[in-house]
Structures are given as C-alpha cells and as structure tokens.
Amino acid sequence: MTATATAPATGRTPLPLDVEAVRADFPILGRTVRDGKRLVYLDSGATSQKPRQVLDAERWFYENVNAAPHRGAHALAEEATEAYEQARVTIASFIGAQPDEVVFTRNSTEAINLVAYAMSNAVTAKEPEFHRYAVGEGDEVVVTEMEHHANLIPWQQLCERTGATLRWLGLTDDGRLDLSDLDTVVNERTKLVTVTQQSNILGTMPPLAPIIERAHAVGALVMVDGAQSVPHQPVDVAALGADFLVFSGHKMLGPTGVGVLWGRAEVLAALPPFLTGGSMIEVVRMEGSTFAPPPQRFEAGVPMTAQVIGLAAAADYLTALGMDKVQAHEEALTEYALAQLQAIPGVRVIGPVDTVARGGAISFTVEGIHPHDVGQVLDDQGIAVRVGHHCAWPVVRRYGVPATTRATFYVHTGYDDVDALVEGVRHAQRFFGVDGGEEA
C-alpha cells in the first residue's frame, strides 16, 4: 500500500448504535490499564466483554435458583430446569431454530468435536440407526484453508481415525475463498463440508449458498462455523440451509464455558453420542444402555446452567440492540478503519480491503515491525489487540507473513477506538524508527 493511494477522506458515517450508552453497560470498560490509560478493547474476536445484564443473570441464577436441572423434584430443581429450558428457547429463537435442535456445549470447539466424534462413533455404533453418517475409507471431508484451527484439526483427526481423506478449498490472493474447484473438491465421495461464515483472521465472509447447494447436491452434510458471525450479524438457520451451525457464547457477550451446536432435527436424531454419562440416557442396564433423543443425547452430565442463562441474557441484549444495527455499526467502523489504516505507509491489510462480504476482523502487518512489537506498543497505550497467527496458521502461511496484528470491533466500539488504533500504529512506527515510509 502506498500513501498516495488512499486519501483519508472517508467520512465517519453516523454509527447506528449509541456507543456511550452501550459502554455504560460494560463495567470493565470503566477501568484503566497501563498507568491510567483508557481501555481500548479491540479484541472481541478473541473474547467479548460482558454487559452488566449478563453478569446479573448469572448472579440471579446462583443467588435464587441454583440446582441441577433435569434431576430431582424439589422446588429449586424445578425452577432451575425451567430457567435452563427457557434459556434454550431464547437462544434458539436468536438463530431462528427450534429449541430441541439446540445442543449446549462448552464452546464452538467442543461443538465441532461433537460432530466429528459422532461421525467416527457411527462406524462402531451397535444401533443401525446411527450408521447413516459413518465416515470411513474412500469418504472425504472438505474444509477450507481459512478455517480456525478449531474447524480444521477435529476433521484432520476424524480422517486419521477413520481412513477418510481431508480435502480443502483454497484462498485467493485478495483474501477470498477460491471456489473455482468447488465441483471437484466437493464430490460424490464427500460426507461433510465445513466452512466458516466469517473468517476470524481475514474478516472474509465466504459465499455459503453455492457451497451448501453443491454439498447437498452430492448428499454431503454442511457445517457452518458461526463463532465469528453469530455475534456480529443476523443469522437464521432456516435461511442458511446448512445442517449444523456452531457458535460460542463468550464471543457474543455471554459467559465462557457455553457454546451451541445447532443441528437439523433429523440429522441430530441419526448421530450417536459423543460424551456419555448421566442425563443423556434413556434406559441403563449393566449389559448396555439406550440414549435419550436430542438435544439431551448430547448433553451428558450436569450442564453449565448459569452460563446458559447468561448466554440467553446476552442474546436478549443483542436482540434489543438489533442484530441488523450491530452489523451496520461494525460495517461503518470497518470501512473507516480500513481507509485509515491503509493510509499509513507500510501498513498492509491481510484480507479483503473493502467492506464487500466482509466482517469487522482486520488483520494487518506494519513493514519493519513484527506484529508482537506492534501489539506491545499498542498495549502500552491501553489498546488491546490480538497478535500472532490467530489459530489460523495456514492462513498466515498462505499470505507469506509470520503473523499479523488483528483488531476486532463490537457494539461498544466507537470511532475514538479506531482513531486510537491508527495513532497507536503510527506511534509504533516512530518508536521503531520506521515512520515516514523509511522501512528498516
């Protein structure tokens, strides 16, 4: 990028969300870091901060209701079960799903592993109805080169366990998914295609419709990794048309320790369990057991009840803001940030350089300064960004950089945060003596 290419004339369109009002809901944004600096939190892509409403919901549960749901007949157990299942209704509604299609997991990673292990458990399941999605030699699983490690390694491992073959769709030089060989990569041998809805490192939103159409045409299942999309844009599973959607609570203002696997009812019904134990059973005998229907079949053990209730509060909070507004808010910030960052000599954005089919994760490099050092200088000014390979090592390798600095936005992000980032990058250049385009 050159300095002359982009004059920072991009205006600040009015932000759809009232940033000051939103910030007032987030207690942590009131603290300072590094000797009294205002916290500029641009790392929501790693984990989001929590509004008071979410914290209050968890506290309410523990102070008033706490009991193990789906066990016992006492008053608290009844109320805990009611609260837990009501939270499932709220969270299902947030993605346009039926409640019994929503399985609570620890996070997206566990949700993906649940499906991957179910597909290998299907090979040896004693129940014939669980064989439908078994994976073995001669079968193929398709991922993309832009997946988070969480949506890559479980499939590599599934293939190693079963003898199936892992294939993948590559990337284009401008940070998009390369669909030119879609029809050969996804073929009659394909059992499952899994793809992110929004890349955690590039921000890219791949076109899902043609992928889902092709996968279904050859009889393959489709999983969509919504870890970076469900928190930031409206997602409706009926409109999406996939078979699975996974997302994490902690990236959408909710607590850590809770995530969601959504699966189409008939697909979930045909999957054997992943984790086994209490509350996922139907009848247990010493000689063998039968299992409950979904979603209970996939929720062994006492669940993360308070976290589920906190996540429902987060969904309510986002719904009240309006997911359309959340998306428009981040798009305005992204457009501004892309223009401002690219106006700095030596800054290279890794990923799409415009807001077309793109979310708010902006990865970049600064010539002459390693991303860790960029991040350190930003941190010194109170600006929290992520540095490294962002659990997407193949992506940084694809673009020939060792790592990137990544800024991500959310509902409390304002133009002042972007301005702080841009000034912080310039400060890093001065600090390391690579400003003025004079690269080391």
Partner: protein
C-alpha cells in the same frame, strides 16, 4: 516509561544488527523450535569440540525480543564450555522469572553481560517465552550434540 524498559537500546541494536546469524557448517546438532502461540521460529545449530561450544548458528523469524535474544545468546555462549553455556542459560531463566526485580538483574550482570538488558521483558509474562525460545533451542541442541564425560565439570549424582 515501561515500554523503554523492555525495548532497551541494546536489544534493538541486536534486533537490527544480529550477531552470528545464518546457518553454518560443520555442526553436530540442529534443532527447530517454534513458539506455537505466535508462530515465531528458530533453527539452531551447535558445533562442539570436546566440551567447548565452538559455534552456534541460527536462522529464525520472530519479534524483536526473540531475535535480539538469540543474537545476545550467540555473543554469550560461543567459546564457552557446554556446561558453562547451560549455566548461563539457567541465569537467563532466573532473569526471566525475576518479574522486573532489579536486584536479580544486578546480581546476574557479570554472567549475562548484554543479555541482562532483557530484565525489562520479565515484567511482561506474554513476552518471556519470546526471549526464552532460543535458550530452549540451545539446551535441546546441546543435549543432542554433547554428553557429559568423566572429565566434564558436572556433578554426578551420588
């Protein structure tokens, strides 16, 4: 200002003009170490004659701290006996665990020379592993290239 505590001028000098960089022959062991949380890498070779570390050569990519650390390590350990080099590594480890305690840095100044400038890094837990990566690689490569002999100045357990 804290930032200057970490990015001492001496560290930035090593980063911009690394000492001993490049992989050289002959060598007795080569190791490749990565920092899996951030992708920093170092390939490091050692050449040992008798008990003496006669060369340490390396290629790597990473942040200023990791690259300066390997350069400063090169200055410190080449020409030393392997046990002395490893003892220096232990001192460097102590420095990294000092949480910025200047008394520890003062105590280790004679042993660590330039590398004592990394004392400021010990205040930033996330960066300590950057500074330690090359020392871990040296320990690993030394163990492959050299085994203590009866004459080596190491204490055998009783």
């Amino acid at each position: 200002m804290k930032l200057q505590d970490m990015y001492q001028e001496i560290i930035l000098d090593h980063y911009r003009n690394p000492h001993g960089r490049g992989l050289r022959d002959p060598f007795d062991a080569e190791v490749h170490h990565v920092n899996p949380t951030c992708g920093d890498e170092v390939t490091l070779r050692v050449k040992v004659d008798g008990d003496t570390l006669t060369d340490v050569s390396y290629e790597g990519m990473g942040c200023s701290i990791s690259q300066a650390s390997v350069s400063a390590m090169y200055d410190l350990v080449v020409g030393k006996s392997v046990p002395d080099a490893l003892a220096t590594g232990e001192d460097f480890m102590r420095l990294m665990q000092a949480k910025g305690d200047t008394a520890v840095a003062d105590e280790l100044e004679d042993s660590l020379e330039d590398a004592v400038a990394f004392a400021g890094v010990s205040k930033y837990p996330a960066r300590i592993k950057c500074a330690l990566m090359s020392w871990m690689a040296l320990k690993d490569a030394s163990a492959r290239a050299w085994t203590p002999t009866e004459t080596a100045p190491t204490e055998e357990p009783a």
